[in-house]
């Protein structure tokens, strides 16, 4: 067991929220066509509230703090917040579009010992990137921001969210990242808006292109063997009643700019608000959070008997957004199908009397693979 796995297991056993994503704002200087947020400010936490929350998170044992938005650099108090977080010895990761980063900011981020900065980049082609962000000139400024951070000694990650508009550009973005000495991650899923509106889901690429990306071994890294494996078969019943669907609400959670606490950024089931209650009270005693924690794979409708069993990456948040946190996430069923060519139990049930779906790409044999692992199938950017 690696040190990281050991830490995760210990946090799980002790009920420690090891990792928290804190969104400082939903405001943004871009208007990305696939964004799941409402960019109006409905009463963000003040500087004092956020600093106090950071004290509470540190006391609760949070180690990994992902600071995100919205665009975090629209908050004038951003560096006050990062400085306080680093003083509290969090491992801090920032998520940004990089547009507002200049040399002085890059150097300051480096000096603060920020672990990494994740920057959203949609294409190697300026016109395509700017069309997705709806901000003219954003490509140039984003790449420049990444370069300044890299030159200052900060670890930078390009997060390449793919959709119909840019799915064919990922190889070139990957090459640009390699040329700049920047880590590359691809996110192949457009998820519904936090308010449940599913309109943007239509931006997802077609199954054929998704399957091709899911079989690109340059993206799979050391996870290739697992991701390209044939379906694992149904989860054994005794295991299904012990296995947790994911870490959301168990060792991780999300706090919105308004203080609302959720199991995860893509699981918009409110479990409390830090303006009304201490974080630790929400973490330990929220009935909603305990409801999420009580769910085991064996409770999931159709999933425990599905042929994809433990090889499925079902997201409980997406399932919740589809109407039932104990139900299937059809978006994940579709990905399991794209990956293996084998329809899941719930995908077949959904399609009912229709013909069995045809595999877009047949399951491939394992190949010799690079060590890097740039695939994050569903991370919110």
């Amino acid at each position: 067991m690696s040190v990281m796995q050991d830490m995760g297991a210990r946090a799980m056993a002790l009920g420690i929220p090891l990792s928290v994503q804190l969104d400082l704002t939903y405001r943004c200087n871009e208007r990305c066509i696939h964004c799941y947020l409402d960019h109006e400010d409905h009463g963000e936490m003040t500087t004092a509230e956020i600093l106090g929350l950071l004290d509470q998170l540190a006391a609760a044992g949070v180690f990994f703090l992902n600071v995100s938005g919205g665009e975090i650099f629209v908050r004038p108090d951003l560096f006050t917040i990062i400085e306080h977080a680093r003083k509290l010895q969090f491992s801090v990761k920032l998520k940004t579009n990089g547009v507002m980063i200049r040399e002085a900011k890059a150097r300051r981020i480096a000096a603060l010992g920020v672990e990494a900065v994740q920057i959203s980049l949609y294409s190697h082609d300026a016109a395509t990137h700017d069309k997705i962000t709806k901000l003219t000139g954003s490509f140039k400024r984003t790449v420049e921001g990444a370069r300044l951070l890299r030159d200052a000694g900060v670890k930078v990650i390009f997060a390449n969210v793919l959709m119909q508009q840019n799915a064919d550009h990922y190889k070139q973005v990957q090459a640009l990242a390699a040329e700049m000495g920047i880590r590359y991650e691809v996110d192949a899923t457009i998820t519904p808006m936090m308010d449940g509106d599913r309109g943007i889901v239509a931006l997802n690429m077609d199954g054929g292109r998704l399957a091709a990306i899911m079989h690109d071994t340059t993206l799979l890294g050391d996870q290739a063997e697992r991701l390209l494996a044939a379906p694992s078969g149904p989860t054994p019943l005794d295991e299904a009643y012990e296995t947790l669907p994911c870490s959301a609400g168990h060792t991780a959670c999300y706090v919105s700019p308004y203080g609302d606490v959720f199991p995860c950024v893509q699981f918009p089931f409110k479990v409390g608000n830090v303006r009304e209650q201490a974080f630790i009270d929400i973490w330990k005693h929220s009935p909603q959070l305990n409801e999420v924690r009580a769910i085991r794979v064996g409770d999931l409708e159709g999933c425990s008997s599905c042929v994809h069993g433990s090889s499925c990456n079902r997201c409980p948040g997406l399932a919740y957004l589809e109407g039932n946190m104990r139900g299937p996430s059809i978006q994940d069923c579709e990905k399991s199908f794209a990956r293996t060519g084998v329809p899941s139990y719930n995908l077949q049930r959904k399609q009912g009397a229709r013909a069995t779906p045809q595999p877009a790409v047949a399951a491939m044999e394992q190949e010799s693979l690079p060590a890097a692992h740039p695939v994050v199938w569903m991370a919110r950017q």
Binding site: V3, L18, S91, G113, V114
Partner: protein, 102 residues
Amino acid sequence: MSTPLFLLRSDNVAARRIGDELMIMFARDSSLFSLNETAALLWDAADGRTPLAEIVARELCPRYDVDAATALRDATELALGLAERGILQVGERPFADAGDAA
């Protein structure tokens, strides 16, 4: 009498206690270390101003029922090992920039 040693926590790492172990992570390469209880005690006490001998007498001897000379020898070895990895700084004088480390 040997030269006193002073320890100062590195400020370019992330650190958190998870149960009885202390996790340390370096931003520069994301390397992760798990410190046992003894090393964690040294980390907590490494304010840059308190001599190691005093830390040993105050924190380690009562806890581990060990004589001061043995404890100091072991703690010095441990502190130097942590310093080699960049987790602590070790010096023969108090650290001037130790104002916020206490």
